[in-house]
Symmetry: C2
DNA sequence: AAAAAAAATGAATGATCGTTCATTCATTGC
DNA sequence: GCAATGAATGAACGATCATTCATTTTTTTT
């Protein structure tokens, strides 16, 4: 009755074992919070022994850093792939990029709990802050580019692309928070409607509030 | 050389001592994060002994809950007072309410670190979640009311007040996150500009991007 | 199939945590 | 000024934490 993610053989490859532990860490943070995530909760979640974490990550702190690294990488991969699959038009590319944040695999309460766990510790942990800031920088760069192009293509007056892009990104993060704190009153459809209202207001000839 | 907030007499009133400890807790969370805030860091911050916390709060957990209670109360008081002092016009009342979130005493990295510390634990701690959800509900109710009135007064088409209000609140929370994670790239003026861009876009006859 | 190597275990360790409580200190009432 | 009262202390306690490592288990090599 082992979890399907757990390799059948006792000796999985080093990389597979590390990944298994990182995913167990994510589940533990989502379930117990970061402040009550211990070596015990993670190893129990992975159905492995206590010693396994120091064997593969040297310390709990390194496991936490590599877990943050993992979720930032996964997030970047997701929106990069979404952009690759999007059409050539600026508006459709912008929509594809923004929609990632409301996709089922991203707009997920467990994953959002992990993001907030790390964000909340950025002030006291420079390592976390740097990784999170990197995540933002890459996303903001491409988002600002698209917004800037759309403003010029659509002749949308005196709008400042950086300001607009920052506002769009901020709204998404705020809606994530709503899902975390008030899950009864928030869901993907509603969040999309809220963002789309802003988009339609900014770029009425490219987006409408459906 | 005692901190000015510390009462001169050894025996302060019970309420003053509790307040002093709550404020020390806030400083500790801002400085060390919630996961590394201990009885030791809080009592040291308050320049009192270890035993003082259990004497006044019975347990560390109760101190943390009462600290969250304190910051939620303080926040509500702040925007209620701002509304009382605002003029009668709907637009100016809306502006007064929104501006609170960008006031020096609210748009402050230390205080925002505290908010995020509790938000990040809401999923695993129902008590935190309830208190945070209450905070949101009160604010959203009055914000939605004002937005609704302005939409009708200004004949702003088919806008949904609840959706717009939710978007405005979400954007603010996202901008707080930006200040926390990327303090070099965010400040009160910039955040105000970002929000005002949305406001001017929604209600062009009442707000302009200055 | 035996030997060697590698992976995983889990009991043991020391450090740190929240909590307790006998003691000390300051204030109040007589 | 002397008890009596209550606030505050900080050393001591058990619980829990991350970490270590001798041992066991599995895989690979010979």
């Amino acid at each position: 009755m082992a979890s399907p993610a757990v390799p059948a053989t006792r000796t999985a490859s080093k990389e597979a074992r590390r990944l298994q532990l990182i995913q167990a860490t994510i589940r533990s943070i989502a379930k117990h919070g970061l402040s009550e995530t211990t070596i015990a909760t993670v190893s129990r979640e992975a159905r492995l022994s206590q010693g396994i974490i120091n064997l593969h990550f040297q310390s709990k702190e390194r496991l936490l850093v590599e877990t943050l690294q993992y979720v930032t990488d996964e997030y970047r991969d997701t929106w990069e792939r979404a952009l690759q699959q999007a059409g050539p038009g600026t508006a459709e590319r912008l929509e594809a990029l923004l929609k990632v944040d409301y996709h089922k695999s991203v707009f997920d309460r467990d994953k959002i709990a992990v993001w907030f766990a790390y964000w909340s510790e950025t002030k006291s942990r420079p390592t976390y802050r740097k990784l999170c800031a990197e995540r933002d920088r890459g996303y903001d760069t491409i988002l600002t580019e698209l917004v800037d192009t759309l403003i010029r293509e659509g002749a949308y007056g005196p709008l400042d692309a950086a300001i607009v892009a920052n506002g769009l990104a901020a709204m998404t993060e705020g809606l994530w928070l709503d899902l975390l704190v008030n899950p009864k009153d928030m869901n993907r459809d509603k969040a999309c409607r809220i963002l789309l209202t802003y988009l339609a207001c900014l770029f009425p000839r490219h987006f409408s509030a459906e």
